[in-house]
Symmetry: C2
Subunit: 201 residues, 2 copies
C-alpha cells in the first residue's frame, strides 16, 4: 500500500486544512483503536490523510474532474457540490494511489455515512467531526460528549456520538436552507433503529 | 361521494381535536381556492375532516387495525407508530367511506408529504400545520410566514411555506431523537430543487 509519507507529500492544502487533516488522522487512530482494533493503522491513516485532499477545489474543478473521469452524477450530487469532494477524493485514492476499497469508501462517505456504513466509515466521520482543532460549538460538544461517554464506559459511545454529529449536520442544512442528503438520513435512522433495539432509543 | 354531514357525524374525537379538524377544513378550503381552484371543495373538505380520525387510537389499536386489514408495515412504520394514524385513516376513508384515491392519498401522506406529492396533499399538509387553532411557535410562525408571502404576491408562497413546515417537523424530530421519515426528506428536497430551478433557492 502507498506509504504515509507519499500520501502526506501529495497533499496540496492550505495550512489550516493540513492541520485539520493531521488532527483527523490522530483522532481516527484513537477511535479505531478503541472500537475496531482489527482495522489496520495504515488504512485508517490513509483514509484520514486523503479525505479532504480535493476540498479546496472549486465547484467547477469538482465537476470537470468527475466529467474527465467518466463519473456520472445524480440530481442530488449536482445540486450539492459541497460534498462532491468526498467523491473526487475517493477517485484519486483509488486511481492514483491504488488504496483498498474500504479506504476509498470511507473517503467517499465521510460527510454523510450511509445506511450500511463500515467500521472505517464510522471512524472517519467521527474523527472528522471531533478532531482537536475543530472550534465550532457543535464539534466541541460532540467531542466532549463522545469523550465523556467513552470515559463512562458507555457501550454505545460511538453510535451515540455519530447520531449527535449527524443531527448537527442536519441542523446546519436546515439553517442554511440546503438539501439534506439521503445517506445522512438513512445512516441516522439506521443507528436509531439499532440503539432502540438495544433499549437505548 | 359520502357527504360532509355523514363524515362529520362519524368522527369520534375529543373536543380539542374536533376543533383542530374543523380548523384544518377551513384552512384547507382557503389554501385550495388560492392555489388549486380546480380541486373540488367536497374532496378538500373530506380529506380535512378525516385526516386525524384515528389519531386518538393507541399504538396497539393502530397496529391491530393494520393487521386486521392485511396492511403490511415496513421497519420505519413499525418504529414510528406516531404517523401510522395517516395510514389507518386513509384505509377507513377508502374502505368505509369509498372516498376517491386523491383524498385517501392526501390523508395517508398528511404528516410527511412525499417526493411527488399531489395538490391536495400539499393543501392538507399546510392546512394541518397552520390552521388557526394551532398555538405552537413553529405553527404560528409558519401561518404568519405563509400569509405574509401570499399577501405580498409571492408566486412561491405555497412551496416556501411547505419547506418551512417540513423544516419544523425535522427539527422537532431532531430534538426528540426520533426518526426522520424518508418521505419528509424527499418532499423537502424535491421542493428545494424546484425553488432552486426557479432562482428562489
Amino acid at each position: 500500500m502507498t506509504d504515509r509519507n507519499t500520501l502526506l507529500a501529495s497533499l496540496r492544502l492550505s495550512d489550516r486544512r493540513l492541520t485539520h487533516t493531521l488532527g483527523v488522522e490522530k483522532a481516527a487512530l484513537t477511535i479505531a483503536a478503541r472500537h475496531f482494533p482489527a482495522l489496520r493503522e495504515e488504512e485508517v491513516s490513509a483514509a484520514a490523510l486523503l479525505h479532504d485532499c480535493t476540498k479546496e477545489w472549486t465547484a467547477a474543478e469538482q465537476l470537470a474532474f468527475c466529467d474527465s473521469q467518466g463519473i456520472g452524477l445524480d440530481a442530488q450530487e449536482k445540486a450539492c457540490v459541497k460534498v462532491l469532494h468526498g467523491r473526487t477524493a475517493a477517485v484519486l485514492a483509488e486511481r492514483t494511489f491504488g488504496l483498498p476499497a474500504a479506504v476509498c469508501d470511507a473517503i467517499r462517505r465521510h460527510s454523510t455515512l450511509c445506511e450500511r456504513y463500515a467500521p472505517l466509515d464510522a471512524v472517519l466521520f467521527l474523527a472528522d467531526f471531533t478532531e482537536e482543532n475543530r472550534r465550532s460549538l457543535a464539534c466541541v460538544r460532540c467531542r466532549e460528549y463522545y469523550e465523556g461517554l467513552w470515559r463512562c464506559g458507555d457501550p454505545h459511545a460511538l453510535e451515540k456520538a455519530l447520531v449527535f454529529g449527524l443531527d448537527a449536520v442536519i441542523r446546519e442544512n436546515l439553517e442554511d436552507g440546503n438539501l439534506i442528503l439521503k445517506d445522512t438520513l438513512e445512516s441516522r435512522n439506521a443507528i436509531l433503529y439499532r440503539l432502540s433495539a438495544d433499549g437505548q432509543g
